[in-house]
């Protein structure tokens, strides 16, 4: 036993040495530094008293596998491969230790320290020479090594026989396409600018990370193939950001941007490719065509500039598809022997399971290809659909972040691209939560605005709404808090969002809103499959339309003919929108002239000189903001003749910003409802008022109970005094926590109201911990506890005023202490014994306390409380409610100050005043803003009368 004990001691010493070394090295301090002692003790405490369960190797493995998958999705295949290989190598090393599962424990330690591995760089020697692929990743890496059953030159392949049928994928000659540097892009029927504008306007691409230039080796080879995979992921609706393409039209360079959500594809090329892919016939034919394309493009020299815009994009896309196909082939090949070797009479569950897994992968990849194949046939305008598809998918990450932020009050932003960033780690229970927990991020490191432009005006509301959501989730849950009759009745008019069943995500809303909007806009044919089946979505769709009418000006019916139909006669387009924020009616048609006037290239003024009669009407300012942008208007009108897509500004405003603002409004309404309802601010205010109403009714019971207890148990008076003093504050460093009954029918009993005062600690965490034992004050019956301080709800500007109110309240209690002290010290010798003693004490206390509070009570009951209640009842917005709270906070100290002391009034007091005044001179030590000499004198005088009666 002694040996084991020694061994344990040695281990402990060794661990402490390691810990000491770690502390010194990390903090860069020597052991004689005071920080060292603290750090060492804390580290030792963590190691000894940690709450973690034993390491589960399976969980560790799953974590690393998910990370590897994530890296692959982010087109970081080399990193994923290396991670896998290193992990396996580590597991193979025979570490000399008695610790069980030490390999997984090591992995777990590293895993718990990782910080966004997506941004990490490969180790030095791995960047230059990527390691050969492991078996597990062969599907993604063996394209060049393994023979492919789909290769065009494999004459024996069944697929190759169909090659000639699909001539579209024959390599185009260079003459078919304009040169990269000199010639302009062919007119593809779709403005390339639309997509670029969409990306720029929504700022959904992220430039904070590297821009990989075409001439850099890292942008070639595997990376470009990975880009193709990423495009497929995006087309499939992947939420993960990845690489994207950008063709710089002026510099004629190809750029791959990391960590983006939008594929900056060469739109005409991609659209043509996808459309042709969709028309290519059977799945096998598509496969074959794509692989041929990939093979032909791979023969191009990397050093030469791209012969046409989009060629590399197509190559990458084709490579991506080819890899997916190869994966299918590999799985099918793996599954084939299983099928052949299976004896169907002898059912083998394991084989079936393996087969099922293999086929499941096949089905997934098949679905991916089907998706690509059908995207071009989504509607009549395949190109517009591709644009919209990419655009809608690109919005998804933003929607997801907003969804968790507005729906759950959580900020989940793994790629740090949201315009709200976490500040200090504060729980809503902290006073400083509202101001410091989350903050707005204005610009990125390279000066770009973080907030999408269409949300910039509402960014602060979105920030507040998320914080409010967190606050709401931390509020105490009462069963009738939401469904209370009073709340339902009073809140019905504000928002019907609160009582909606379930939570519909912004992403779903966005898709539905987009579809509905496009249908109403005329850009998309009404599809029976696209009709919303969910009742909520239907309501949402109709509301989007309604909101558009209400907020954006001219009804859609007037806009659609203008925008959507280039073939209609000009007379049908009766309205132009000019740059002077007015709608111009073209009355030419009404006057009988049906001759269409081409407006392309003409300004409204020029058109008016061409013989048209124009009549101007004022336009809605909001509408003007959406539609009019100077020269862009003419360009857009010109484009509108060839496409059915609405302008990006209109799309984002109506389909993205509006649903978000509805959500924000709903949260604000919900917060307002909570503040007004049970446990809400109104109750807090009323409770606070009631605290000040600790006058006669409440204090009578308090005094009765106190004196009765004193008489019953023959408690000496000084004990009662000390009992009171336990709950009275000292005079410096207050942190007030108001605890009160939330009953408004009558004044709460004295036992139900407690002003707990604690010394403010230097660390906020200590304050929170110190506030917890309030619930365990068994001597006083606590029926509820307000969870956050008042300053957390009202603005920070009003915090000082509230503190003043609390201070005054505490001074009331100090007055009690002073009163008792005075009574005990100066009159205890004259108090008769027995029952008379108790009665006398009770009477003295009652009268004194009444005198103390009568002034306050009168003011509150007659002036403040009715006015406050009326203002609260009439408040219909959070702003108004806050204003009422601030007004009350500003008013209370003034009321409590009372009239300023006037010597004339003092002189009127009878001679007894002098005697009583001296007896209660302690009251004069109260802060001048509460205790006027008049009040003190009145109190002393009244008490003196009581004494004389006794």
């Amino acid at each position: 036993m002694a040996g084991l004990s020694d061994l344990g001691y040695e281990l402990q010493v060794e661990q402490q040495k390691l810990l000491s070394r770690l502390v010194q090295h990390t903090l860069h301090i020597r052991p004689d530094n005071s920080e060292y002692v603290q750090g060492f003790d804390k580290a030792r405490y963590i190691l000894r008293h940690h709450p973690f369960a034993e390491t589960n190797p399976r969980v560790v493995e799953e974590g690393f596998e998910s990370l590897e998958q994530r890296l692959i999705e982010h087109s970081q295949v080399p990193k994923a491969k290396l991670l896998l290989r290193l992990r396996k190598q580590l597991l193979d090393i025979p570490l000399a230790t008695d610790t069980i599962e030490v390999h997984h424990r090591l992995l777990s330690a590293l895993w718990n320290l990782y910080q966004n591995p997506l941004t990490s760089s490969l180790p030095q020697h791995h960047e230059e020479a990527p390691a050969p692929a492991e078996e597990e990743l062969s599907e993604l890496s063996s394209w060049d090594e393994e023979p492919c059953m789909y290769r065009s030159d494999s004459g024996g392949s069944v697929l190759s026989e169909e090659a000639s049928t699909y001539a579209y994928f024959e390599p185009e000659t260079e003459d078919s396409f304009p040169g990269a540097s000199q010639r302009e892009l062919p007119e593809a029927g779709l403005p390339v600018d639309w997509h670029q504008e969409a990306c720029l306007y929504t700022r959904l691409y992220w430039k904070s990370n590297l821009l990989q230039q075409r001439d850099q080796p890292v942008a070639q080879g595997t990376t470009e193939r990975s880009l193709g995979i990423q495009v497929l992921h995006m087309l499939q609706g992947s939420t993960q950001p990845g690489h994207a393409f950008t063709f710089d039209e002026r510099a004629c360079t190809f750029r791959a941007t990391d960590r983006v959500h939008v594929g900056h594809l060469s739109v005409p090329s991609l659209a043509a490719l996808l459309q042709s892919f969709a028309n290519a016939g059977s799945q096998a034919a598509r496969v074959h065509a794509f692989v041929r394309r990939a093979r032909s493009l791979s023969t191009l020299s990397d050093a030469s500039p791209p012969p046409l815009h989009g060629l590399l994009t197509m190559q990458a896309l084709a490579d991506g598809v080819a890899e997916q196909l190869l994966a299918i082939a590999a799985r099918l090949q793996a599954a084939e022997p299983m099928v052949h070797s299976m004896h169907w009479d002898d059912f083998d569950g394991t084989v079936m399971l393996n087969l099922q897994q293999a086929l499941q992968g096949v089905m997934q990849h098949q679905a991916l290809l089907d998706h690509v194949a059908t995207i071009g046939t989504f509607s009549g305008n395949a190109k517009a659909t591709v644009l919209l598809q990419l655009f809608s998918v690109s919005v998804r990450p933003l929607m997801n972040i907003l969804d968790t932020w507005l729906g759950q009050g959580q900020l989940i932003d793994p790629t740090s691209e949201f315009f709200i960033v976490p500040g200090e780690e504060l729980s809503p229970a902290y006073d400083s939560f509202w101001g410091e927990a989350f903050q707005m991020r204005e610009t990125t490191s390279d000066g770009l605005p973080c907030c999408p432009s269409f949300l910039q005006a509402q960014a602060q509301r979105i920030l507040d709404a998320g914080k409010a959501q967190m606050l709401l989730l931390h509020m105490p849950q009462a069963p009738d808090m939401i469904a209370g009759a009073q709340a339902a009745a009073s809140m019905q008019a504000w928002s019907d969002w609160i009582d909606r069943q379930g939570h519909c995500s912004l992403w779903t809303d966005w898709l539905q809103a987009l579809h509905t909007f496009l249908q109403e806009y005329g850009a998309m044919e009404t599809s029976s499959t696209a009709v919303a089946t969910d009742k909520h979505q239907q309501q949402r769709a109709s509301r989007i339309s309604r909101d558009y009418h209400a907020a954006l000006g001219p009804p859609l019916d007037d806009i659609i003919p203008l925008m959507s139909s280039p073939d209609q006669p000009f007379a049908l387009r009766q309205r132009l929108i000019d740059s002077s924020c007015s709608i111009t009616h073209d009355l030419t048609g009404e006057l009988g002239s049906q001759q269409g006037v081409q407006w392309e290239g003409l300004t409204p003024q020029q058109q008016s000189t061409a013989g048209q009669l124009l009549q101007q009407e004022p336009c809605y300012p909001e509408h003007a903001d959406v539609f009019l942008c100077g020269e862009d208007q003419d360009r857009w009108l010109r484009d509108a003749r060839t496409i059915d897509l609405p302008p990006v500004t209109l799309l984002t405003e109506c389909c993205i910003a509006q649903p978000i603002l509805h959500q924000v409004t709903a949260i604000e309404a919900e917060l307002l409802k909570h503040l007004r309802g049970d446990w809400g601010l109104r109750q807090q205010l009323e409770a606070l008022c009631n605290l000040f109403l600790l006058g006669a009714p409440a204090m009578q019971g308090f005094a009765d109970a106190l004196t009765a207890a004193g008489c019953l148990h023959e408690i000496p008076v000084h004990s009662i005094v000390s009992l009171l003093q336990e709950h009275l504050p000292c005079e410096r460093g207050w942190h007030g926590v108001v605890t009160a009954t939330v009953g408004t029918e009558k004044l709460p009993d004295a036992e139900d109201i407690l002003v707990e005062v604690e010394e403010l600690q230097t660390e906020t965490a200590a304050v929170a911990e110190a506030a917890v034992p309030l619930l365990h004050v068994a001597r006083l019956r606590l029926t509820c506890r307000l969870r956050w301080s008042l300053a957390a709800i009202i603005s920070l500007d009003a915090q000082e005023q509230w503190n003043t109110v609390l201070s005054l309240l505490l001074q009331l209690r100090m007055a009690e202490r002073a009163l008792l002290h005075a009574v005990v010290n100066q009159h205890s010798s004259t108090i008769p014994a027995g029952a008379r003693q108790g009665l006398a004490l009770r009477l003295r206390m009652l009268h004194a306390v009444r005198a103390i509070h009568s002034f306050t009570q009168q003011r509150l009951l007659n002036d403040l409380l009715p006015a406050t209640q009326k203002a609260l009842a009439e408040a219909t917005s959070l702003q108004q409610l806050t204003e009422v709270a601030m007004r009350l906070a500003a008013l209370l100290p003034c009321l409590l100050q009372g009239n300023p002391p006037q010597q004339d009034n003092v002189a009127v007091i009878a001679d007894d005043w002098e005697r009583a005044w001296n007896s209660f001179a302690r009251f004069l030590t109260w802060p001048s803003h509460f205790t006027s000499r008049i009040q003190a004198a009145k109190l002393a005088f009244d008490l003196g009368i009581v004494y004389s009666q006794i």
């Binding site: 281990l11 060794e14 661990q15 390691l18 810990l19 770690l22 090295h25 990390t26 903090l27 860069h28 301090i29 920080e35 750090g39 804390k42 580290a43 963590i46 190691l47 940690h50 973690f52 390491t55 290396l82 991670l83 290193l86 580590l90 090393i93 025979p94 570490l95 230790t97 610790t99 030490v102 424990r105 090591l106 777990s108 330690a109 590293l110 895993w111 718990n112 320290l113 990782y114 910080q115 966004n116 591995p117 941004t119 990490s120 490969l122 180790p123 791995h126 504050p729 005079e731 410096r732 207050w734 942190h735 403010l760 915090q799 000082e800 503190n803 003043t804 201070s807 505490l810 802060p927």
Partner: protein
């Protein structure tokens, strides 16, 4: 394989893993972490210790200014 060789290889592998995972550990810290885990300490607790120490180191490296003083209690003296 010699024991030192095994340890060195494990350290090298862990260094590369650490780099990929972006843990921010230097070689000395990583070596201590490995030894602590090998000695039987809980890996998550070790990670928490490292995080705490790094956070503390960052705080110590900040210059103390008026902002600390402004965080004093705002309640008035009575």
């Amino acid at each position: 394989m010699e024991r030192e060789e095994v340890s060195a290889r494990a350290l090298n592998i862990c260094t590369e893993l650490s780099q990929i995972l972006n843990t921010g550990l230097d070689k000395t810290e990583l070596e201590i972490v490995i030894k602590l885990v090998q000695a039987g300490e809980h890996p998550e607790a070790v990670a928490q210790v490292v995080r705490h120490l790094k956070q503390r180191a960052a705080e110590l490296s900040k210059p103390k200014g008026l902002s600390d003083q402004l965080k004093a209690p705002s309640f008035r003296n009575m």
